[in-house]
Symmetry: C2
Subunit: 360 residues, 2 copies
C-alpha cells in the first residue's frame, strides 16, 4: 500500500486574532512550542508518511509561507487553490493529483491546525484506517471519543461494530450537525456518538468514484483538470476550472450520502485548538491557572487567576485580574475575558466596517 | 528681580511601571503628548524664565538623560546629586548655586513631574509668588484649591488673608499631614485648606538664612560646598559633602518651623499625575470612558468601559472588559484593575525578591 497524507491547510480562521491574520492563518502560527501547527502536523506523520508523499492543499495567498515552513516537501506537493471551494473540492483535487501519480494509493486526509498529544496512538490509529481503506471499497472517517458535551462539533453516530479491538471500527449510522447542549449531553451519556474530526482515509480512486456518483459536476471538473496536474499548465488549469467547481463540504456532499462508510474510534488526545480559550489546556499553567505562551519564567502574577497571555518575549505582570485573555503582537493589543474570546469575530467585523483592513 | 526656576527632578517613582523604571523615572516619560513631563515643565515656564536661568536638580543616574531632553539648558544648569538627600538638601543646593551666581535672585521651586492645564494662570500665579518673595522677608508656598477629598496629599491651613485679590494670598496657619477621608472631607467643606503642592518661591539667600536657623548642619555643609559650585571641582565636592547632609524634606525641616510664610492660592488645573489611574483625567476618553495614550484612532473597544491603555503605536482592541489599566512596553505587559494600579509597588517588591532587577 502506498500511503499519502493530504493536509488541508486552507483555513483563514480569525479566532486567534490578532496572532492570526488573513495573511497568517492559524495553521501557520506557533501556538505551542517553536513549530507551527502545520509543521507539527507534518512532523508527527513522519513514522508513517515521508515528505515526498505529503501533499498540502492551501490557498494561493498562503502557498509561499507553506513552502517556507516545509522546505522538506517537494514544491509540487503544495497545491494552491486559486480560491476556497470547500472540502469536497479540496479532497477531490488531492485525490486526482494522487491518483494520477500513483493509482491505487491511499490518502489520509488531515487538518493542518489540530494538536495531538498521544502521537504513537495517532500513528497506529491512522495505520488501521489506512489498511481498512486499502482493503475494502469504503470511505473511512475518524471519530473522536467525546470528552465533554461539545456544542461546537458535528457528531458521528456509530452503528454495527465491525471490529471491537481498539481502535474499534464501526459502521456509521448517521451524521449529526452541531447539537444543543442537552443533545450533546445525551450523546455523551449514550456512548454511541463520536466527534466528527475531519480526518479521513480512502483510496484516491475510491473517493473519485464517490464524487462521480454524488457530485458529478465536481467530478467532471476534476476530470478536466486531471491532465494538467503535475504539468506546467497546472496553475492555469486551476485558475480556469477551480472557480467553477461546486462549493460543498466533503461531509455533506459525499460522506452523508455514501453507504460504504466505516468509522475508526480515535482516542489520541486531540484538540482542534479552537480559540485562545483552548490554550488553557495546552500551555503550562501555574498554581492559579495562569499561563504565558512564552513560559512561566516570564509570568509574574499577583492576586490573579485563570489568565491566558501571549505577549512574545515580554514579562507578563498581572495584578488582581481574573480569567482574561491578552495578546500582544507587533501592531495589536487584545484584551478580553476568556469566556468571550470566541467573539473576536465581532471586533474584526467592526474593523472591516471602519476600513481598517491592515488589522484583518 | 532676577528669577530662576529650580526644577526638582530627583524622583524615581514606580507608580508608572513598567513605563517608568529606575533608569527612566516618571519625569522623563511622555505621558501626554510627545514631550516628557520634565520638558513640559520647562516649556511652560518659557514666558517667565529663559533656559539660561532654569536649573534642574536630579540624580546622577538621570543627569545624562535630563541633558538630552533639555538641550536648550546650559550643561552647568543640571545639578546631579550623587545620592538623594530629600528636598531640603536639594532646595538648599539650588539656592547656594543661585546665590553664588546672582545674589538677591528669586527661586521658583517646581516639581518636574506635574501637569498644569491653565498655563497662563500658572504663569501669573508664579509671578505673584515671585514678587512676594522678592519684596518681603518671607518664604512663599503655593496651595492648590482641593477638587476632591484627597487622602494622598498634605494640606496647608490658611490663616489671615493678606490679599484677597486672586490669586489670593494668606498667612499659613498650619501644615497637616495626609488626612483620613473624613478629615479630608472636612477640609474640603471648610474651604480653608489647600493641597500642599511642593511649589515654592523664595529669594535664594532667604532660604539659606532659614536653613542656617532651622537646619544648621545642612547650612554648614552647603557653605562648605558653595565655593565649588560652578567650578571644576563641583562634582568632587558634591561627592565628598552631599552624602553627609541631613535627609529631611523642606516642608518638615524649614516651612513648618518658619514664621514668615505666605501661601498663594493656586487654581491652574494641576495634576500630580500620581499613577496610571490619573490618566483617566488626562487622556482623551471615548464615550465609554476608554482611553488609549496614543489616541482614539487606535482604540477599538467593544462592550468595554473605563479602560486606560498605553500600548505604543498598537491598535488597542478591547472586548468585554471594564476599568482595566494595561501597559505594553518593549519588555513588559502589565494588566491590573484601575482601582489597584497604585499597588504596582507590590509587583516590583516581588520582582526584586526574585532577582529580576532588569525589570525594575
Amino acid at each position: 500500500m502506498n500511503l499519502y497524507a493530504v493536509i488541508m491547510a486552507g483555513g483563514s480562521g480569525t479566532r486567534f486574532w490578532p496572532a492570526s491574520r488573513q495573511k497568517r492563518p492559524k495553521q501557520l502560527l506557533s501556538l505551542t512550542g517553536q513549530r507551527s501547527l502545520l509543521q507539527q502536523t507534518v512532523d508527527r506523520l513522519a513514522p508513517l508518511v515521508p515528505p515526498e508523499r505529503v501533499l498540502v492543499v492551501t490557498g494561493r495567498a498562503h502557498a509561499e509561507q507553506v513552502g517556507e515552513q516545509l522546505p522538506e516537501l517537494p514544491p509540487a506537493n503544495i497545491l494552491a487553490e486559486p480560491m476556497g471551494r470547500n472540502t469536497a473540492a479540496a479532497c477531490g483535487l488531492a485525490a486526482a493529483w494522487v491518483a494520477r501519480r500513483d493509482p491505487g494509493a491511499v490518502c489520509l486526509v488531515l487538518p493542518a491546525d489540530h494538536l495531538i498529544t498521544d502521537e504513537s496512538l495517532f500513528i497506529s490509529t491512522l495505520e488501521r484506517a489506512a489498511h481498512l481503506a486499502a482493503a475494502q471499497e469504503v470511505l473511512v472517517t475518524l471519530g473522536l471519543t467525546p470528552r465533554f458535551p461539545a456544542t461546537g462539533f458535528g457528531y458521528i453516530e456509530t452503528g454495527e461494530v465491525a471490529d471491537p479491538a481498539p481502535p474499534a471500527v464501526s459502521r456509521v449510522a448517521a451524521f449529526h450537525e452541531k447539537p444543543d447542549l442537552a443533545t450533546a449531553q445525551a450523546y455523551l451519556d449514550g456512548g454511541k456518538h463520536l466527534w466528527n474530526s475531519g480526518m479521513f482515509a480512502w483510496r484516491a480512486e475510491r473517493l473519485l468514484a464517490e464524487l462521480e456518483r454524488h457530485l458529478p459536476e465536481l467530478a467532471s471538473g476534476l476530470a478536466e483538470l486531471a491532465p494538467a496536474l503535475g504539468a506546467p499548465d497546472q496553475e492555469a488549469a486551476l485558475e480556469r476550472i477551480y472557480p467553477g467547481l461546486p462549493s460543498i463540504s466533503v461531509d455533506h456532499g459525499v460522506l452523508e450520502k455514501c453507504s460504504h462508510l466505516l468509522v475508526v474510534k480515535a482516542d489520541f488526545g486531540w484538540s482542534d485548538v479552537g480559540s485562545w480559550e483552548a490554550m488553557g489546556e495546552l500551555w503550562e499553567l501555574d498554581s492559579h491557572r495562569n499561563a504565558n505562551q512564552n513560559g512561566r519564567d516570564k509570568l509574574h502574577p499577583v492576586d490573579s487567576q485563570g489568565n491566558l497571555v501571549s505577549a512574545g518575549d515580554r514579562l507578563v505582570a498581572l495584578l488582581g485580574v481574573e480569567n482574561l485573555v491578552a495578546v500582544v503582537t507587533d501592531d495589536v493589543l487584545l484584551i478580553a475575558p476568556r469566556s468571550r474570546c470566541q467573539e473576536v469575530g465581532r471586533l474584526l467585523e467592526e474593523l472591516k466596517v471602519k476600513g481598517r483592513e491592515e488589522y484583518l
